[in-house]
């Protein structure tokens, strides 16, 4: 009886671990969705990689640094046969967890005295998303994440299907950036204004741009 119990525990543990690998994008809605073709639907970044903010002069501390167009998001979505694809695009902030407080940036290195200053919180980063048709939520407006690991900001997230080519807000049907550049290409700007009394050091966070089916 004991061996049988162990067998089932082992088997279902394996099954659960396999399933968890698919859930890389946080905030995925429950249930089976088959509206979009997952093989031909992609999100890609132009100028992807690291976005570095180096604050070495006082005018930068005081006035901040803006990195315009540092990331471009390009969406390509395709209908599954006999279905109508409807997608959403959400960005999440991550501080890599670990020993970091859930509200703070991940501190890689500290300069100077250890006890001096305040560790910056996750709401320090400002993000502005826009495209030619201004389809994004809060298009062209600086936004901040809540100061909590895993907090999200919607770029496209609407229950109503808005097809490609309309150049309206929240276009979320099948389409791609090569045919409808103004709706399926997003430009992302970043801004940080540290201000005074932050603890000097090197900090990092990760922004996850997540494309998923509604």
């Amino acid at each position: 009886m004991g061996k049988e119990k162990n067998f089932y525990i082992l088997f279902f543990s394996f099954f659960i671990s396999i399933n968890s690998l698919w859930a890389q994008c946080p905030g995925l809605s429950a249930g089976t969705h088959t509206l979009c073709d997952p093989a031909l639907s992609t999100i890609s970044l132009v100028h992807s990689g690291n976005v570095d903010f180096n604050f070495t002069r006082f005018n930068e501390i005081n006035g901040g640094i803006v990195q315009s167009g540092s990331t471009q998001i390009r969406i390509k979505t395709k209908n599954n046969p006999s279905s109508t694809c409807q997608w959403k695009l959400v960005m999440y902030v991550s501080n890599f967890s670990g020993t970091t407080s859930p509200t703070d940036w991940s501190n890689q290195v500290s300069y100077g005295s250890a006890a001096v200053g305040v560790i910056p919180q996750l709401d320090l980063l400002e993000i502005r998303v826009d495209n030619f048709c201004h389809t994004a939520s809060n298009s062209g407006i600086w936004q901040r994440f809540s100061a909590l690991n895993g907090a999200s900001l919607d770029i496209i997230n609407s229950a109503i299907l808005t097809p490609a080519g309309t150049c309206l807000s929240q276009v979320n049907g099948a389409g791609d950036f090569s045919s409808n550049y103004g709706e399926y290409n997003f430009t992302v700007d970043y801004r940080i204004i540290p201000g005074y009394s932050k603890k000097p050091g090197i900090y990092s966070i990760k922004i996850i741009f997540c494309l998923s089916e509604m």
Binding site: F55, I61, S197, Y203, S204, L211
Partner: protein, 268 residues
């Protein structure tokens, strides 16, 4: 007649087949999920900027009796402007290269006038004889009884035996004044500081010269007659032991003397 063992095995196989079918089925109709990541790195370097306006040399020429008696006061000679991204302290320290009696706390004697070694004349002038006055009180310090926290006291009528305005001296200028000695802003204790900021931006209702990030410094030297520099006292009101060799009957040897005043802005 099936055995109990076979029944259990059949149940296992059925469960496995069902689950594998579920996995395969899920894969065939996989939900659209795709993601891309961007890492944001922020390098916050500690920035301390001290801007000093005014002449590099401040000359006091005592060539009239009234200048000896009343001293020479130079108002608003130095403006100190601070911009800092971190909490900070600002202090002044006086010292020399030590060419007089090998003591960096005595002013350097560059030239001696007249006879080389007249009776009772001494070239040992304590750097502490220089008096400073800042235009506003130290905003980031806690009081220490019987001592002065800053240089904000008005220049008193000579002789002044309190040490209210005498400069802090140290052979090592990067040693912060201990607790109980003068800072222009902030203090030695960890809780004594001025928060990061700048004179350029409105803060606490003030900006520019009115802010806690801008100080104007006056200087005074009073030689007295005879030239014994009667205001030379420590911050606790103790007469200098090295001044004029510590001999009460000595007076200052005429000549040219120099010292260095260093303004140090340091992270708290």
């Amino acid at each position: 007649m099936k055995s109990k063992k076979n029944i259990v095995w059949n149940q296992r196989v059925k469960t496995m087949v069902f689950t594998i079918s579920l996995i395969i089925g899920t894969n065939l109709n996989a939900q659209l999920v795709d993601e891309q990541n961007v890492t944001i790195t922020m390098d916050l370097q500690p920035i301390l900027q001290l801007e000093m306006n005014g002449p590099q040399n401040v000359d006091f020429v005592f060539d009239e009796v009234y200048k000896y008696v009343g001293g020479i006061t130079k108002y608003g000679v130095t403006q100190l402007k601070v911009s800092a991204s971190v909490d900070w302290d600002l202090y002044a320290v006086g010292y020399s290269s030590g060419n007089t009696n090998a003591n960096p706390l005595l002013m350097d004697n560059q030239v001696t006038y007249g006879t080389a070694a007249p009776t009772n004349a001494s070239n040992r002038l304590d750097c502490e004889l220089l008096e400073l006055r800042q235009d506003k009180a130290n905003p980031g310090t806690t009081a220490v009884a019987a001592n002065f926290n800053d240089y904000s006291s008005a220049f008193g009528k000579s002789p002044v035996a309190t040490g209210a305005n005498n400069i802090y001296t140290n052979a090592n200028p990067y040693t912060k004044p201990p607790v109980g000695l003068k800072y222009i802003a902030g203090g030695n204790a960890g809780a004594d500081f001025v928060a990061g900021g700048t004179y350029l931006v409105l803060g606490g209702g003030n900006v520019g010269a009115g802010s806690n990030y801008w100080y104007t410094i006056d200087y005074r030297i009073v030689p007295g007659l005879p030239a014994v520099f009667p205001n030379t006292f420590s911050n606790a009101g103790v007469a200098s032991a090295i001044h004029l060799g510590g001999v009460a009957t000595n007076y200052a040897q005429p000549g040219v003397y120099t010292m260095n005043v260093k303004y140090v802005l340091v992270q708290n």
